[in-house]
């Protein structure tokens, strides 16, 4: 666990890495419940290879929440679909996505496992909540029918029992009159209620891993507060491991124990939430923090945005993918930012960042230049 960079790109073949203590995967039901190693998801297109996720590694323990933060096209959603085995879904006839690396879920490596076995884990051991609950629920089936279906895939029970379970779950997520609303269609629910129903559906089988992809982005702020509260409570109750994917630093700060910042399909910084917010060690993280107006501070004179636009995933800038937008790209010597891709290095306890600047340089820039402006 101490040298994360070593593991990146080194051991891809399934099986060879098992039991290597260096990589820190504890044998059988240990603390790293989810262990993703050097995950790559590439999509061949006519324009070239889209490297949506390009070498991502992280671990997640039971009962903990990991927040994955990034802008559109950073690869955060593809990561979650890759873990669920849904990255190729809907890709009929297109050139198939390529996925490599290892995803260990509770001792099972998912990428080399039998697809039918992985299918049975979906919805039972790992479940997902999507951004827009209106389009994520089938418009022709009632909420109840959809939850009942989710339950009966993995439990051999009759419809009546399953429906009782559905009502129970709807009640648990705070839907009033659940015994009546269970027969409503998604379009008869408000946005917030739909997302509650979606959460009820994803938790109906007590999954050990819950992935929430922008769970509140489509919701109003007061409803968002309710949903965040609900997710937090449910996690406490169910003890699931949760991955929250969002572009909103406020949302991760609310929920996450650990934060992983993605840029151009790679992790640029990862660490405990407090570290990433109070002692960020990557210029992109600084940029994100400087970009958002904050209600909890006195009025900022001016926002400090990141210049330029997010990169194309087909043609990532060479060296550090962030270098064309980085105000400090010229600090490291020999143009190394434009030629060598920085690996994640440990910058503190359980805190990694991928930057060519020295630790001291970054510490100085953060404390002297960035932090005072936030």
């Amino acid at each position: 666990m101490t040298d994360i960079s070593k593991n990146a790109g080194s051991t891809n073949a399934p099986g060879t890495a098992v039991g290597e203590p260096v990589l820190g995967r504890p044998a059988g039901g240990g603390e790293a419940f989810l262990d993703v190693r050097d995950l790559k998801v590439h999509f061949p297109t006519d324009d070239g290879l889209v490297k949506s996720v390009d070498g991502l590694s992280f671990q997640l323990e039971r009962g903990k929440t990991l927040g994955i933060v990034g802008e559109s096209g950073s690869g955060k959603s593809v990561t979650s679909l890759g873990i669920m085995g849904l990255h190729t879904a809907g890709q009929y006839g297109k050139r198939k996505a390529r996925i490599s690396g290892e995803i260990w879920l509770n001792g099972t490596e998912l990428l080399s496992a039998d697809p039918d076995h992985v299918r049975k884990l979906r919805g039972r051991d790992m479940a997902m909540i999507f951004q827009d609950p209106l389009s994520a629920l089938h418009p022709y089936y009632t909420i109840g029918q959809q939850i009942v279906e989710a339950y009966r895939i993995h439990h051999d029970v009759d419809k009546k029992t399953a429906k009782r379970r559905a009502v129970e779950m709807l009640d648990r997520v705070g839907i009033p009159q659940p015994d009546k609303r269970v027969d409503s269609y998604p379009h008869e629910f408000s946005g917030g209620m739909r997302q509650r129903a979606m959460i009820a559906m994803s938790l109906v089988n007590n999954p050990e891993l819950l992935i929430a992809d922008e769970p509140t982005t489509a919701l109003d702020v007061t409803v968002q507060a309710q949903i965040l509260d609900l997710i937090r409570d449910l996690q406490k109750e169910f003890g699931s491991a949760v991955i929250v994917i969002t572009h909103d630093l406020g949302v991760v700060a609310e929920l996450a124990d650990d934060i992983l910042v993605m840029y151009g399909g790679r992790c640029v910084e990862r660490g405990p939430a407090e570290k990433v917010f109070y002692e960020p060690r990557h210029p992109y993280t600084w940029g994100l923090l400087g970009s958002m107006p904050r209600l909890d501070r006195e009025q900022q004179e001016r926002l400090v945005p990141v210049k330029g636009s997010p990169p194309s995933l087909i043609n990532l800038p060479s060296g550090c993918a962030f270098n064309p937008r980085c105000p400090y790209a010229d600090i490291p010597k020999d143009d190394v930012t434009r030629t060598v891709r920085p690996e994640l290095t440990e910058v503190g306890s359980r805190h990694w960042a991928a930057c060519h600047m020295s630790q001291e340089q970054r510490e100085r820039i953060w404390t002297e230049e960035i932090a005072p402006k936030l």
Binding site: M84, L86, A89, G90, Y92, G93, K94, R119, K120, L121, R122, G123, R124, A127, M128, F130, D132, S135, A136, L137, H138, P139, Y140, T142, E149, A150, I153, H154, Y185, H187, M201, S202
Partner: protein, 332 residues
């Protein structure tokens, strides 16, 4: 739901009245423009003016148009009595009038022919649904594959080749070449196998054309549906792919197909003129063709009305089915 249905029913009834009036009006005007005297037409060649005048009186052709429309309209719902030339003719309730040519009551004649056309339309529809939808779904699932391209080329052929061509080729092969069937239409009451034998080629021919269209539309909607978020949700639940496709995707993809089906069957019930002619089937299509050749206006009028009713009814059925499939429609 009930209000929705009632509104649709009322709309259908209004539509029907409008069609009757408009169609009758057109058929009243055509002879005028074309310089044909319907009465003379009715009596036939070498008629003496007195006979023509008698017919004109009896059919009420001398009346102003609005009363003629009203009489015709009334005849459909209440029956009609023709008085003139010394005798009285009773035409029972759905009275479409009398043929100029055969002097037979039109409605019973058309009703004799109706089952043939209905059998042709429904049988072909079943066939093209099976063929078209399954080909479309497979094409969508294997987009870009040889199967997909092949199926779409065949579909393009199906859409572009006219019925009389495919029909003739089919007849040449199966009737004259291989001699598997004799190609003569036999009423269902006489022999089931004979009936089947007489309809099988028209079914296949007609289905080929429509299956091609249905395959293309199914493929397109299926591809769209497969990209929907709720399909991803279905997979995320751990559903097997066949359930995802067969249950979740199919239900959504079938709605536009259903809409098309209603209109197509409705239109075909009015007579598949080309198919019926090609295979010499005694259906409505043949009747209308004959009527057009002989300027038998009341028969044409009758067939047009039956077609309109069939289309309206089929659409109504589709609307009801649609609201059963898509719960969001019920609120409309």
């Amino acid at each position: 739901m009930l209000a929705y249905l009632i509104r649709r029913l009322i709309a259908a009834a209004v539509m029907l009245v409008v069609i009757i009036v408009v169609v009758f009006g057109i058929f009243f005007l055509i002879p005028k423009w074309a310089g044909i005297d319907p009465a003379a037409n009715f009596v036939g060649k070498q008629a003496d003016p007195a006979a023509i005048e008698a017919v004109r009186q009896k059919l009420g052709l001398a009346e102003p148009i609005h009363s003629q429309v009203w009489e015709f309209f009334k005849g459909i719902f209440a029956g009609r009595t023709y008085v003139g030339g010394g005798d009285v003719t009773n035409c029972a309730a759905p009275c479409f009038g009398y043929s100029f040519r055969t002097e037979q009551e039109i409605f019973p004649v058309l009703m004799d022919r109706f089952p043939v056309t209905l059998a042709l339309a429904l049988g072909a529809a079943l066939l093209w649904l099976l063929l078209g939808v399954s080909a479309g779904v497979l094409s969508a699932l294997k987009r870009g594959s040889i199967w997909d391209r092949g199926a779409m080329v065949i579909a393009l052929g199906g859409v572009s080749l006219p019925i009389y061509f495919t029909g003739m080729v089919a007849a040449a092969i199966f009737i004259y070449g291989l001699g598997w069937i004799d190609g003569q239409f036999v009423p269902l009451e006489e022999s089931f196998t004979g009936w089947l034998g007489g309809l099988i080629l028209p079914w296949i021919t007609l289905a080929f054309l429509y299956a091609a269209m249905y395959a293309r539309i199914t493929r397109a909607t299926m591809l769209e549906v497969l990209g929907e978020d709720y399909i991803r949700t279905a997979r995320a639940k751990g559903l097997a792919e066949k359930t995802v496709i067969g249950k979740h995707a199919m239900r959504s993809a079938m709605t536009p197909v259903l809409t098309m089906l209603g209109m197509d069957i409705g239109a075909l019930i009015g007579g598949a003129i080309l198919t019926e002619t090609t295979f010499n089937l005694p259906g409505l299509g043949q009747a209308v063709l004959q009527a057009i050749r002989t300027q038998d206006l009341p028969v044409i009028l009758g067939v047009v009305l039956i077609t309109s009713i069939a289309v309206i009814v089929a659409n109504l059925v589709v609307d009801v089915l649609y609201s059963a499939i898509d719960p969001r429609v019920r609120l409309a």
